[in-house]
Symmetry: C2
Subunit: 186 residues, 2 copies
């Protein structure tokens, strides 16, 4: 989670993470050999490493929540059919050729394994404070409506307001206005 | 812990934190009014906030340990008598005047409260993986010996070695040496 923790915005600001630390609970489950490349000391790559990572994520997200950070997580689910359509479009449309990766295409052979890893990850890391939104993503307009609505709900739940102006401050404002109005234009 | 997490060194490097996130479990206990200045949403400043912070610290340090980070924590304990001596020295020695703070001096009135907060914090956050070393610090040479010994122990426990050179690599090295020796000097 180091990469992401280093980029955490300060309290009061909004940060958007594309992919984020959840990667480390997904592709390494489908292709365990990738873990070996991560240079983690051998004795730390235990049988429970998957569960431990879920636990660490839950704990750190709870820590953030306790400190006033509001977390919303979105899983954009593209169906197998739609993915095939998009890959073919990348092959057929010269303007999209650059987007095509034969690696992505080959990874379709592990579709079911990926779905299992996603499901397991979501079940283990969805909490009241840091919920997952699983969003159907075959139609982009629909995805956007769902995500925007969830973000608006989260913002409204904070009941944000402008700071209250005290009587003394109000008098100060009135005095400033009087002075400004009376003064010559520059 | 945000300030410190942002400065976490990558795996394989050594980082030294002077004070660190433990501050947030100490002075706010002695002077709870300081918490009010931190702009934490009111509903999050609960009765359990002290315990919750200990729990968050333990969890995040465990997460780091699981990812190959070795944590050693040092509490340098200066006695009340020695502190008084050092403060007087700062008042009497013109070269040390700049170090004196009447705030620090006034804080001696809360000595027992601070000791209680330190003790509570150490009891709640000392773990096998992230132990506290409580180091007598009235004599600087002694403090340094203790800290250096603990750091050396931690490094030796890692059993670090240069990467092993394979037979093929050894042949490559021999070939390079031959070539280098045979070539004209530049």
């Amino acid at each position: 989670m180091w990469r992401c923790l280093k980029c955490l915005p300060e309290r009061g600001r909004i940060g958007i993470f594309n992919r984020s630390y959840y990667e480390e609970t997904l592709v390494v489950r489908v292709h365990p050999e990738l873990m070996a490349k991560q240079k983690i000391p051998k004795q730390l790559v235990t049988k429970n490493i998957g569960e431990d990572r879920y636990e660490d994520i839950r704990n750190i997200e709870r820590y953030l929540t306790r400190n006033g950070v509001v977390i919303r997580k979105f899983f954009l689910h593209v169906s197998a059919d739609e993915q095939k359509k998009r890959f073919l479009e990348r092959l057929d449309n010269p303007a999209k050729n650059w987007k095509f990766s034969s690696n992505d295409s080959r990874e379709r052979g592990f579709w079911k394994d990926h779905m299992k890893a996603y499901q397991d990850m979501i079940c283990n890391t969805a909490t009241d404070d840091a919920p997952w939104f699983v969003v159907p993503a075959d139609n982009k307009w629909f995805t956007r409506v769902v995500v925007a609505a969830a973000v608006i709900d989260a913002l409204e739940s904070l009941d944000l307001r402008y700071p209250k102006v005290s009587e003394a401050q109000r008098e100060e404002l009135a005095a400033a206005k009087k002075e400004l109005t009376a003064s010559d234009d520059l």
